[in-house]
């Protein structure tokens, strides 16, 4: 029997679950696929409910992890297999090589000399980075990552004199013995290339809501300047397309819960930056749950922000200007119109990270990729791995799963 707990996923709910269990004395392992902890919240400019920047919540969490010997975490790590049963799981974890050792060494001089550019996935392809990188703000662990496969031969030669870099590091597999498992694998933005009638990702000035977060973030590719990707121009007339993939049985057959609020929040980003900009939000139903309704009312009271009931069903690029033409029927007036925007934001939904990927035996997912059941077996889901949530509810769900995991390992 093991009293340890494994948390899969180092985002907001995973970290919360891990800390709650660790702070009452349990040994906890966090397994994170990315090179840094923090998950999707790291990519946001501001997050609900209080519109804090991510550093606001996450830096405290990272401090708690640092100060608690019960928490051990592995980055660039994934669960390979789960065997055994409740109270006595054996979990195989594969850890990819990072090629950069511990110690907060500054490698920015080496990075400058590298030739190859790599598309930055953290910035949702809005910019490039080098193969040696630390692309997240206030990175934890504050340790660079090297992608050996993206280096030229000359690049590799540059590393020979750098002590922190070990090019011979190899992938390893470790085995953990734990009593219960929390799955907090979170979500990924729905793939826009599947939205064939909404430009399928080919229209330059039609961006996703997560790209908008990066454009608005001070740590982002434009240092917080919201500009058009095609020409860097300041947008004056911006459209938001709600339910881009969500509530659609051909794509995500559920409501992603937070996209309406995210768009209203982003409308506020734009209005703060550009006092003359006009904004139109195209929606099916504006879903502003609970206390968010007050926020929505305040944003919509702005006479430059206009909400139109009608889903955009066609997006095309205007050749020359790079503007985006949307076709939509305003269901209140019964007029089908083509409206031109210089920047269009698709409010793409949340898809569970486990959708379409193989999951270890013991973890059950539904047809959309959300984790269902499994609690009797001692495997608990937390956060957006279970259902679409906001950050606040994600943390609550992390705490709840920690409690269940603790109850499992101490046998009550």
């Amino acid at each position: 029997m093991s009293k340890s707990i494994l948390v899969v996923g180092g985002g907001f709910s995973g970290i919360t679950a891990a800390l709650e269990a660790a702070e009452v004395g349990h040994e906890v392992f966090i397994v994170e696929k990315a090179p840094f902890l923090g998950g999707r919240v790291m990519q946001l400019n501001k997050y609900f409910p209080k519109l804090c920047p991510p550093s606001c919540g996450l830096e405290i969490q990272f401090q708690r992890i640092k100060n608690n010997k019960n928490v051990k975490f592995f980055t660039m790590a994934e669960v390979e297999s789960i065997s055994g049963s409740k109270g006595d799981f054996e979990v195989k974890i594969s850890i990819k090589p990072r090629y950069v050792g511990p110690g907060s060494v500054d490698l920015s001089e080496v990075i400058e000399k590298l030739s190859n550019n790599v598309t930055d996935e953290f910035e949702f392809k809005l910019c490039d980075r080098k193969a040696l990188y630390m692309d997240v703000p206030f990175a934890f662990p504050a340790r660079y990552v090297l992608e050996k496969e993206n280096c030229t031969d000359e690049d590799l030669k540059l590393f020979s004199g750098v002590d922190a870099i070990d090019l011979n590091e190899e992938e390893k597999v470790i085995t953990l013995n734990v009593g219960s498992i929390v799955y907090a694998t979170g979500w990924k933005p729905y793939d826009v290339t599947k939205l064939s009638n909404l430009g399928a990702g080919t229209v330059a000035n039609c961006i996703t809501n997560m790209q908008m977060e990066r454009l608005a973030a001070p740590s982002g590719p434009t240092s917080g300047q919201i500009v058009r990707p095609s020409d860097g121009a300041q947008p004056k007339n911006i459209g938001f397309v709600q339910c881009a993939g969500s509530r659609d049985e051909n794509h995500l057959n559920y409501c992603s819960y937070i996209c309406c609020m995210a768009s209203l929040k982003q409308a506020q980003y734009i209005r703060e930056q550009y006092p003359d900009a006009k904004i139109t939000v195209y929606y099916i139903d504006l879903r502003t749950p609970g206390r968010y309704d007050k926020f929505a009312k305040r944003i919509l009271a702005d006479d430059k922000i206009n909400a139109v009931k009608g889903k955009v069903a066609e997006v095309i690029e205007v050749s020359g200007s790079g503007n985006v033409l949307v076709t939509v029927e305003d269901a209140e007036t019964g007029i089908k119109a083509q409206n031109e925007h210089d920047l269009l934001v698709l409010a793409t939904g949340m898809q569970p990270s486990l959708a379409g990927v193989p999951v270890p035996t013991g973890v059950q997912v539904d047809d959309q990729g959300f984790i269902v059941g499994g609690e009797e077996q001692g495997i608990f889901a937390a956060g957006c791995a279970k259902q679409p949530l906001d950050v606040m509810k994600t943390a609550q769900s992390g705490t709840a799963s920690a409690l269940k995991a603790i109850q499992t390992v101490i046998g009550r």
Binding site: N197, C243, D248, E249, I284, K311, E329, D330, A331, K336
Partner: protein, 406 residues
């Protein structure tokens, strides 16, 4: 709100609509994707989103008087993109089916045509008529399967002048008269449609005739509007080509029938005419060749259309009884028609005459019940599209403005 509007939902109507193809209607959440997806829907009050909400609210009056259901050519793009699987295309088809059912009296035909359980009655009417003729003529000829000079001659058992032609002329007249009343009812139902006023447009409103000519040119003969319905996958090709070929086949066969009728009856006055259209025709006869080409085209298009319906994804498009009735009937007409010719040439009287009998029954069913069948769209849609142009719901082709500067 200037005035409160009290909605009186007609629940019975919703149930009926669900039964004829609109069963997805309650899934709709009014996102309006369908109105945008439709390549033909006008910008002002586009369909089918508004029809979906009317149907949910049970607004029967709005729906039965709606001209827009006839503007839809059922390409199904709205259903393909519908996020809820509410199948708006099938609902509009369902509304058209209801129109076929209720457009004209006697209403019993409309009811009988709406469900397979009444099919025996519909078959029985022509079956009895032609059976009586068969019995009488069998008595006259001395056999149920008589040969004339050793050959199978259908006109020998079912004489054209006294049995076939009078019955079909009455049937045709009945059909035409029914359609006349149907179109009158249809146009009457559109009286509350908003009229379009073009401000500053000095040109005159198009005449009904001009509208009709435009419909024939741009919709009927070339199918060019329908072609705008966009998609290019295999199923759409099957549908488009199938429909075009089947229409051409019918036109060919109509010409053949016309020539035969005109030369036969005209031959009573101008004797040499009767020689041209005398049946049975030899296989080298140009009219016979046209008839055979028409028959082959008919079967080919039936294969296309049937294949498409069988391969449809049921979650997005369902075929109704109206669809299958018509396909089944035309299959029967096509197959029995070809078999009649082959069996006649082979001289197998015992099979040829029963085959001819089935053919007669099927053709009778097509003509007499036509105004209540899906094929009624040939007349009703044409009328509605003409009227839609007349009141400005659909635009007439843009006149070319020629300006000469000297």
């Amino acid at each position: 709100m200037e005035k409160d509007i009290r909605i009186k939902p007609d629940l019975q109507f919703i149930k009926e609509l669900q039964a004829v193809g609109g069963d997805g209607v309650k899934k709709c959440y009014q996102c309006a994707t369908c109105s945008v997806a439709c390549p033909l829907s006008p910008a002002d009050n586009p369909y089918p989103r508004k029809e979906m909400v009317w149907a949910q609210w049970g607004l029967k009056d709005k729906l039965v008087n709606d001209i827009d259901i006839w503007l839809c050519h059922n390409c199904g793009q709205c259903s393909d993109l519908c996020p809820r699987g509410a199948r708006p295309a099938d609902m509009l088809a369902g509304l058209r089916n209801m129109a076929y059912q209720k457009m004209v009296t006697p209403s019993c035909f409309g009811k009988w045509m709406s469900s397979p359980k009444h099919l025996p009655k519909l078959i029985a009417i022509p079956a009895v008529i032609y059976m009586v003729i068969w019995f009488i003529m069998a008595g006259v000829r001395g056999s149920f399967f008589p040969l004339k000079d050793g050959n199978v001659v259908y006109g020998y058992l079912f004489p054209g002048d006294f049995t076939i032609d009078p019955i079909f002329m009455i049937a045709f007249g009945f059909m035409a008269w029914t359609f006349y009343r149907g179109v009158k009812n249809l146009i009457e139902s559109f009286k509350d449609q908003p009229k379009v006023f073009a401000v500053g447009d000095k040109s005159e409103r198009p005449s009904l005739l001009a509208c009709f000519v435009d419909v024939c040119r741009n919709e009927l003969l070339t199918h060019s509007k329908w072609k705008e319905c966009g998609e290019t996958d295999e199923a759409d090709e099957q549908k488009f080509n199938g429909h075009r070929f089947i229409m051409l086949a019918f036109i060919f066969l109509m010409i053949v029938t016309g020539i035969v009728a005109v030369t036969h009856w005209g031959g009573k006055i101008i004797p040499f005419l009767s020689a041209i259209g005398h049946t049975p025709m030899p296989l080298w006869h140009p009219v016979k060749i046209l008839a055979n080409v028409g028959a082959v085209m008919l079967v080919y298009s039936l294969v296309l259309l049937t294949k498409r319906r069988l391969n449809q994804d049921e979650s997005q498009h369902k075929s109704s009884y109206y669809d299958w009735y018509l396909l089944g009937l035309i299959w029967t007409i096509g197959v029995t028609g070809i078999m009649c010719e082959l069996l006649r040439l082979a001289g197998i009287a015992g099979l040829a005459y029963p085959m001819y009998y089935v053919h007669l029954v099927a053709v009778f069913m097509m003509f007499v019940y036509l105004p209540w069948s899906k094929l009624g769209h040939l007349v009703y849609r044409t009328a509605a599209l003409t009227y839609a142009r007349y009141i400005g719901r659909l635009p007439m082709p843009v006149r070319e403005e020629k300006t000469f500067t000297l």
